[in-house]
Amino acid sequence: MTKSPNRWCSPCARAKRCVEPMRPALRFAMFLCLLLALDGALLFDGLSRRMAEYATLARLEVVTRGLGLTDLAVATEARYTRHPAVSDPVVPFMDHPGAIEHFPTGAFWLPPSR
């Protein structure tokens, strides 16, 4: 584990040897502080988004009542993925004898077991 004292010859390298490098523990602590600061900022932003969401929820409530909706409009590729709450287990087989299962949504949005 020996090193020649003259290994670093250039001025930059010599300067590098004379400047104390940042300790790994300090680097870790700085990173952790940054991460926690980011988490703090996300928390505050989340809180303000939560406040804004109340207005959105009020609108969604009106839409649900006003139109008598029963399902979220997320997967619109088939009727049993679009309206799982008012479909039943037979529906995927009713579309067409050769109908292909809508994967992965067909496995995710399941009709209720009654």
């Binding site: 991460l35 839409v63 006003g66 409009a73 949504t105 209720p112």
Partner: protein
């Protein structure tokens, strides 16, 4: 360096698990809040196991059941746009007959809801995805095909606000007459009947009475509709968790393998420490601390990244699972709640297996003989 690579992989696994958990929890919350206002009872006619149009007369038969406040007929279904390979949900109802129907105007980004047939024939309100997909470029008129392939013209009288995308993005709302004309449904028939009761506590009782009065009718209560979504986002979200747990298992195996096999360098270091007076338990304590720091940091990094992914990038990685081949894709605007229970669940699934996978083999490999440090 090895620890850094383990930390990155670990953080990635936690990111996937936490993202999926946050998406399903946020959707579940939204479904719970929103579907609390779904019609108390929905009636569908079943024949030979299939849903078919229900006669309007059935609604009149319900007049004798005490506790029913209102029965509202609706015609709704799906229109497949062959050009754009897209399904639209078409809903025909008399807005003024629905609870809160008068307030629907406030949910629009612009325009007004379509009035009854005699006032507003062919007027529709569309969701945001419909507007984008049809690409009307400033036009407000479009046409759809009837079953006999004749064209029915429509004029857009309003657009739903993007805030309501999660419910309305694929909707075309019109009055009952227009929907009947578009789908070619004979007079006297509708798709379903929405039943509203005076006392919510009586829903189950009234539902039972309805099924006795109308045996061929499927009676769906609000609680049954809500239960669907509890199931979808409950154990069923394990659809994703099952895939991700496989990734986690692979990672735990990797961690075990890493902890069990010592490089010559690591063996040398342990031997040196032992010669300097360290015992096996001291070495294990340091390894455990290292594992706790790596897993703790990976957890924070993974969960932070997951939150950013879900909130600021709309859970982009999981859209294929949620939306599949759908052409119309809503902006989800998800905001997960981070409860202590959720964080503990993720910790239990990730940090604990990792600690077990590293500390146990570390104990076995810490039994390097001290004299191996001598003799160079």
């Amino acid at each position: 360096m090895k620890s850094l690579s383990v930390l990155l992989v670990f953080a990635a696994v936690i990111f996937l698990l936490a993202s999926f958990q946050m998406v399903t929890q946020a959707l579940s919350d939204k479904a719970k809040q929103v579907l609390a206002h779904t019609p108390e009872i929905t009636l569908q006619k079943m024949s030979a196991g299939r849903q078919e149009s229900i006669p309007l007369a059935y609604g009149e038969q319900l007049a004798g059941i005490f506790g029913i406040r209102r029965v509202v007929p609706r015609i709704w279904g799906y229109y497949f746009d062959e050009v754009r390979l897209t399904n639209y949900t078409v809903m025909g109802l008399e807005v003024n007959e629905m609870p809160e129907g008068g307030r629907l105007g406030a949910t629009l980004a612009k325009g007004v809801m379509p009035g009854p047939a005699d006032e507003a024939q062919g007027r529709v309100v569309v969701g945001q995805s419909i507007k984008k997909t049809m690409d009307l470029a400033g036009r407000t008129t479009f046409s759809l095909f009837r079953p006999d392939l004749s064209l029915k013209p429509f004029e857009i009288s309003g657009e739903f606000s993007p805030d309501t995308d999660i419910l309305t993005n694929d909707l075309i709302v019109m009055n009952v007459a227009d929907a009947r004309d578009l789908f070619g449904i004979p007079a006297g028939l509708v798709t379903d009947l929405c039943v509203y009761v005076a006392n919510p506590k009586e829903i189950e009782t009234i539902a039972k009475k309805i099924s006795e009065a109308l045996p061929s009718v499927r009676v769906l209560t609000r609680s049954q509709i809500q239960k669907t979504y509890q199931v979808v986002f409950g154990w069923r979200s394990g659809f994703g968790s099952i895939c991700l747990l496989a990734a986690l298992a692979a990672f735990v195996i990797l961690a075990w393998d890493k902890a069990s096999g010592l490089s010559p360098e690591e063996r040398r270091e342990i031997a040196i420490l032992k010669v300097l007076g360290w015992e096996t338990s001291d070495i294990l304590a340091v390894r455990s601390r290292e594992s706790v720091i790596v897993s703790g940091l990976a957890c924070i990094v993974g969960m932070t990244a997951a939150y950013i992914h879900v909130v600021y990038f709309d859970a982009a990685l999981f859209r294929p699972v949620l939306m599949g081949w759908s052409v119309l894709r809503p902006d989800l605007h998800l905001l997960p709640r981070l409860a202590a229970g959720d964080i503990l669940l993720i910790l239990a699934f990730t940090v604990i297996p990792y600690l077990a996978a590293t500390v146990i083999p570390a104990w076995r490999s810490a039994t390097v003989p001290a004299d191996s440090a001598l003799g160079g």
